[in-house]
């Protein structure tokens, strides 16, 4: 499952999408919007066709690099309030070490190369870009 969506992410369905009988571990990562002074939400801007292509490539690379069995990535676009999930990654592997390693690697790569930009939104801090 690879998706970019404006509505809330159903974490359970992302986890279910990677379940397999030959998996001994599923690692799930939730990226959540952290509260900072004057920040009520983050606005995510996504170049969607390119982002979907890059996420698909990342899944393939993670399969080759770590031997993971299934990997799902769902990212939000638009406004996500403080406490909301902005990204959910679920990774299934035969053993937990590959699942942990792949999940961490994929999240780092999403942050590093996928065309998604975020802006802080709040009463006093209307347009500050968050690094």
């Amino acid at each position: 499952m690879i998706e970019i969506q404006r509505n809330r992410i159903d974490v359970g369905s992302v986890v279910d999408s990677v379940r397999r009988d030959d998996a001994g571990a599923i690692v799930v990562f939730l990226g959540t919007v952290r509260s900072d002074p004057d920040v009520r939400a983050l606005d995510y801007e996504v170049y969607k066709p390119m982002a979907l292509r890059m996420l698909t490539e990342l899944v393939e690379r993670a399969r080759e690099k770590f031997g993971v069995l299934e990997l799902s990535i769902v990212h939000r676009a638009g406004r996500v309030p403080v406490g909301g999930d902005s990204v959910v990654i679920a990774c299934a592997a035969a053993h937990r070490s590959e699942a942990f390693a792949a999940c961490a690697w994929v999240m780092d790569e999403v942050k590093r190369i996928v065309p998604i930009w975020k802006t802080e939104s709040g009463p006093a801090k209307r347009r500050a870009r968050r690094p």
Partner: protein, 83 residues
């Protein structure tokens, strides 16, 4: 020929639009298009060194030749963030 230029985040805010239609002579490269965009929107000049050039959703070098109907995107650095 007609091509489309997409702008995101800081660049979209600077230009005031996320999508521009641009008419070019055949054989124009992405680099030449970028020069034209920078001439029209000089406030983008300071971002030139960190700008990623993309054609039809793939990163390209500035000497890539454009074709009718191409979608060019000028991408600011992505969000990154602390680990």
């Amino acid at each position: 020929m007609q091509i489309e230029v997409r702008l995101f985040a800081t660049y979209r805010e600077i230009v005031g639009e996320g999508q521009l239609a641009w008419t070019l002579r055949d054989g124009t490269t992405v680099g030449q298009l970028l020069e034209a965009v920078l001439t029209k929107y000089p406030r983008l000049l300071g971002h030139r060194s960190s700008m990623l050039l993309v054609v039809n959703h793939e990163v390209v070098r500035s000497d890539a030749v454009l074709r009718e109907g191409d979608e060019v995107a000028l991408l600011p650095p992505v969000s990154g963030g602390d680990r």
